[in-house]
């Protein structure tokens, strides 16, 4: 890789319950600027823990994590989080705040002037393809799951971060919405030149959206690389994960007549 990594994990470890549970075990992983990385694994694989370590929602026990070349332990965690976008599972919107207030929260915390926040909110609503007039003053409970997640993405982007971390962002959505939202986000990633790390348990989603995929199991990083590189991996678990999308693709080819619905 020619450019230096924007995010780097080096021999990172994290245990819970006084060392009984090793959630993350000696993981080293680098993400370069502009890259879209998906971390794939089952529940309990340690993928979410790894993501939270990056913006210090959790502190690592061992190893080093650097962002933009600086060790995160040296950084003020509050300021660190304000410059990293974070998209939570099923939105994580504040239920007592309107859509506009949710989106504008990080700029507000950073002390941005109210008119500037308002303009930024409008810009972001457009970016995530939500109708401004219709959604700006709605409360989160009045939105559909897909709309909520669009607001979650808008909120993560509000302070113009270079890095976006996403924790199973599209997991709870129906397939159509999920597909549309995934494509939209990938387009935003390219357009804004983001560096994205996305957690998912769905290998198909990872293959379709990400440049590179890291596979985790029981706290360990099993393999990483482009989908093609993963196919060449000899690991049995990685092979098993790849078999499902492949089989689905083959069956879809058989079941759906080509060139039918374009």
């Amino acid at each position: 890789m020619q450019s230096p990594p924007l995010i780097a994990f080096a021999h990172v470890g994290k245990s819970f319950d006084g060392g009984c549970v090793r959630a993350v075990n000696d993981v080293s992983l680098e993400i370069v600027e502009g890259e879209f990385l998906a971390i794939v694994g089952g529940s309990g694989s340690g993928k979410t823990t790894l993501l939270r370590l990056a913006n210090r929602l959790i502190e690592a026990d061992s190893g080093h994590i650097t962002i933009e070349g600086a060790d995160v332990r040296e950084a003020d965690p509050i300021r660190l989080r304000r410059r990293i976008g974070y998209v939570f599972q099923s939105g994580g919107l504040f239920p007592h705040m309107s859509v506009a207030d949710n989106i504008g929260i990080t700029p507000k915390l950073l002390g941005t002037a109210a008119p500037d926040i308002s303009a930024r909110v409008d810009e972001l609503l457009e970016l995530v393809r939500l109708d401004r007039a219709q959604h700006r003053d709605r409360m989160p409970h009045e939105l559909s799951g897909g709309q909520r997640q669009r607001v979650g993405v808008a909120r993560a982007l509000a302070a113009k971060p270079r890095i976006v971390l996403m924790d199973e962002p599209f997991g709870a959505l129906d397939p159509l919405t999920r597909d549309a939202l995934g494509d939209d986000f990938r387009a935003l990633h390219n357009k804004l030149g983001l560096t994205t790390v996305m957690i998912t348990h769905d290998m198909t989603e990872a293959i379709l959206l990400a440049d590179r995929i890291a596979v985790m199991r029981a706290g360990k990083l099993l393999a990483q690389g482009t989908p093609a590189e993963l196919s060449a991996s000899g690991d049995a678990y990685v092979g098993e994960l790849l078999r499902t999308p492949r089989r689905q693709a083959e069956r879809l080819n058989v079941l759906l007549p080509r060139g039918g619905a374009a």
Partner: protein
């Protein structure tokens, strides 16, 4: 309508600004203090299980203490504290009335506020808390912009509960000298004035409902983001406080405060003394319904200026003497003891209100019982009733010892009800009061204390240390000394126990003055 032409309604309404105003003041102050202490404690303890457990446990224990006892406990506590600050720092404070009431009620309000605030804060979805952290909030920003707003509905429910409790319990602050709507209830119960009792209860209930609804308005305003509702509720509470403060500002402070204990005779005598003071051109007000543990201390510290006590009560209860002396000797010795404490024994009113064992005349005659000695043989299958304090007073131990009395059962009753109870055969004997008019009314007989086990209880007028040399006060009250004989006092008490227009303490006091003063 005859119901509303009753002059008692007029009397009820003349007291309302004073009673209601004081009630609101003490309740609002206590609630504000309770919130000021509970909210930070609840917030600080939400993530500290040990502190949280200790706080909730302590608040629950406080809640199990009956309101009346909690209020009464604060009086001696503060009295001791005031003495301490006086000797250490050279200043004291009044442990009477407002302060102990506010502290006890504030303590009482803490449980619902603590519990609901903690429950509300801990009930927030952890995903929301993580999101607050994730978007870059400091713990403080998370608390104020996310956690407290989300917990608010549960917190407000607790605050409303606390408000209703405090307003209800504040009626019990009358015996420790805080004027409240409880004055209606205590006075009404003692003088069998049901108009007063009902009015006091209804007024306290309405006040509680009104405050509860205003808080509800603020609550829905906050959750519905409606500024108008919040403002309306806030203005309502502010107006309530302002309205009750206004009369307190304009009212001239009265020069003399006449104290009264919690029974009808005391209400009549305090009204009589206040009338005499006013007739002499002085300003006077009464502070009624004071507990007998509170009233003497209130006189010594100058919170009240004058009241009537009974020689035997002071001798046995206040100064803890167990020996019984002849009347004159006891009075003389009491005078010396009081003088050492700078309290002036102005003189005797002329009657004694002693404890006495009382039973129906017909039954006494049938059994051939004339004295307590005669009773001793029958006591083992008889029951006795007395007021709330008699059985723990030293006189009772003295009577039991002198006569070897052992009853089948002992019951405690509201004093006004025990005469009817003994007349109807509900109990066999009661420890009544010799000056009570109900003895004649129910055709009861007072048993002779042939072994002189019951001390004399002459009614005596006491002046506070700061009024010791007050000639105007002495001149106004001296005409009462030696004038009130037992027959007149009995009749006055009987009148005060009536349930009609002429039975208010003030009316009975005027009648008594007409009878004895001329």
């Amino acid at each position: 309508m005859s119901l509303f032409s009753d002059p008692r309604w007029h009397e009820v309404l003349t007291h309302l600004p004073d009673y209601l105003g004081n009630h609101v003041r003490v309740s609002v102050t206590a609630l504000a203090l309770g919130l000021l202490v509970s909210l930070p404690l609840a917030i600080a303890s939400r993530n500290r299980p040990l502190l949280r457990g200790a706080l909730l446990g302590l608040a629950s224990i406080v809640q199990t203490v009956p309101g009346l006892a909690l209020l009464a406990l604060f009086y001696p506590l503060l009295l001791a504290l005031a003495a301490l600050t006086l000797s250490w720092f050279g200043f004291g404070f009044s442990a009477f009335g407002f302060l102990p009431a506010v502290l006890a009620l504030a303590l009482y309000s803490m449980l619902p506020v603590l519990r609901n605030t903690i429950t509300g804060l801990r009930g927030i979805d952890p995903a929301i808390l993580e999101a607050a952290q994730g978007v870059g909030m400091t713990p403080r920003q998370s608390l104020f912009t996310v956690e407290l707003p989300l917990a608010l509905p549960v917190m407000m429910a607790g605050i409303r509960t606390a408000a209703v409790w405090v307003i209800g319990t504040a009626t019990l602050s009358t015996p420790i000298g805080q004027t409240s709507l409880g004055n209606y209830i205590f006075a009404g119960l003692q003088t069998q004035n049901w108009v007063f009792v009902l009015f006091g209860c209804a007024a306290a209930a309405l006040l509680a409902l009104a405050v509860d609804q205003l808080l509800a308005l603020i609550e829905t305003g906050v959750s519905g983001r409606s500024r108008a509702r919040i403002a309306l509720g806030g203005i309502g509470i502010a107006a309530l406080v302002a309205a009750t403060l206004a009369p307190a500002m304009t009212r001239s402070p009265s020069n003399y405060i006449v104290g009264a204990k919690t029974f009808a005779e005391q209400y009549v005598l305090s009204a009589l003394m206040a009338q005499r003071l006013r007739a002499a051109g002085l300003t006077a007000s009464t502070r009624e319904g004071l507990g007998s543990n509170v009233i003497y201390d209130a006189l010594v510290t100058g919170d009240i200026d004058v009241y009537v006590d009974y020689s035997g009560t002071l001798w046995a209860n206040q100064f803890h003497h167990s020996d019984i002396k002849p009347r004159e000797e006891l009075l003389a010795e009491l005078k010396t003891i009081l003088a050492q404490r700078k309290v002036t024994l102005l003189g005797e009113l002329g009657f004694a209100n002693a404890y006495a064992l009382v039973m129906p005349r017909t039954r006494a005659e049938a059994l051939g019982i004339h004295s307590i000695s005669d009773l001793a043989g029958h006591a083992h299958d008889m029951s006795i009733a007395a007021d709330y304090e008699f059985f723990s007073r030293p006189e009772w131990a003295g009577i039991q010892k002198a006569y070897g009395l052992a009853f089948r059962a002992q019951r405690q009753m509201q004093p006004d009800f025990m005469y009817a109870a003994v007349a109807s055969g509900e109990v066999d004997i009661i420890a009544g009061y010799t000056s009570d008019g109900l003895i004649a009314k129910y055709d009861l007989v007072v048993l002779d204390d042939d072994r002189h086990a019951i001390p004399p209880y002459d009614a005596i007028v006491l002046l506070s240390p700061k009024r010791a040399d007050d000639q105007a006060l002495r001149a106004a009250l001296t005409p009462l000394l030696g004038k009130i004989d037992i027959a007149s006092m009995r009749e006055a008490n009987l009148r005060a126990a009536g349930n009609d227009a002429n039975s208010s303490p003030a009316a009975v006091a005027r009648w008594l003055w007409e009878k004895v003063g001329k």
